[in-house]
Symmetry: C2
Subunit: 249 residues, 2 copies
Amino acid sequence: MPRYRFTVEYDGAPYSGWQRQKSGVPSVQQALETALLACSQEEVTVHASGRTDAGVHARGQVVHVTMSKAWNPYRLMQAVNFHLKPQPVAVLDAVPVADDWHARFSCIGRWYLYRILCRTAPPALERGRVWSVAYALDADAMQLGANRLLGTQDFTSFRASLCQADSPVRTLDRLEVARVGDEIHITAAARSFLHHQVRNMVGTLALVGQKKWTADDVTAALEAKDRSAAGPTAPAEGLYFMGAVYPEE
Amino acid sequence: MPRYRFTVEYDGAPYSGWQRQKSGVPSVQQALETALLACSQEEVTVHASGRTDAGVHARGQVVHVTMSKAWNPYRLMQAVNFHLKPQPVAVLDAVPVADDWHARFSCIGRWYLYRILCRTAPPALERGRVWSVAYALDADAMQLGANRLLGTQDFTSFRASLCQADSPVRTLDRLEVARVGDEIHITAAARSFLHHQVRNMVGTLALVGQKKWTADDVTAALEAKDRSAAGPTAPAEGLYFMGAVYPEE
């Protein structure tokens, strides 16, 4: 049956996360499935490259859906966007993919952006879009700390207690810290991440940026293999799922 | 009496504009004056470098206020921000200024940013922050059109019918068009602008970007000295007051 891949942008604020919940609380998956039902009269399941938590945004979530009939991809995108209104979810593009292409299982890389706004004043324009901290952060020190987390490691210390992954070992390909005006941007890329891994790494690097921790403390936290040894979980509102990578690209 | 200069950021969406209205509809000026009353028990008037229309945002509005007693500027900023909550208005900095310093009358330059999002899908994360158009725009063609508006000109064709300025002549110092991802950013700088001037210039340049107009058409519209000869007024939600310039800087 015809299968389509969508790139999806959303504001995570009104949603309990990507995944449809039994309780019927709003989720991004439900918003998309409801819009697809409205335009096709089909009850379909939308599969995502990665589930995002409550409040986490996406600029490049990748999903797929299997339809019973073939659609012009552009018209399908337009129809879904029409029925998504007024929700803050938008399909940015739609392309046909092979029957065995899977947004989650075919995915070989994911990347995230985390935004921290460092200033005394609260955000007015970026409210809900950044983690707002009233203190300065040293981006160079944070980068030195970030470097300690690169490569193939046991990320037990940076994994949510509820994480369901079989193994705590992941390979972190990129963890880059940049100053952009009065914001710190942290970019993280890996084949896959553990639950809360990015937010736990960011919460830890924020300690380094404040000079409360050194890069050696980051290494010690990693080696402890104990969640309580690392820093706090940074808030969801600063996190953006930016993109997913597939072998054909 | 002690006078303070604030830099102010706001989301224009919930406001009828900068200026306090007799009818009591929400305005940014009223929000600031109410917060200042709450922290000082003083009824003060806040003066802005430039009034913004309903829905127009600011990243760098400059205002001043005269208080009856001296404040530590940092504590005044903190107090105002506390009382502004939960409104999307924030004071970014506060500095003492001379008794005769005036946010509006001392100002010798203002600059604005206008953001146009060019893509089929509606904005999810940037909703209310950009003018969303479903067509492509040619930034290079727009820049050629923009160049025709530079310098000292009679901007009657780009002036709102309700504009109260004595003269339609203004000197446009910068009008720069840049592509930033899937957005077009237009930066405009002048000593001062006529009412709706930036939005009317943007609406006209969008015609050039779509190849409906040429740069010569922009010159013809300018020379017509007739509002109906230029393009439509671009929506308020894409416009940001970015900053004001003063002689001491």
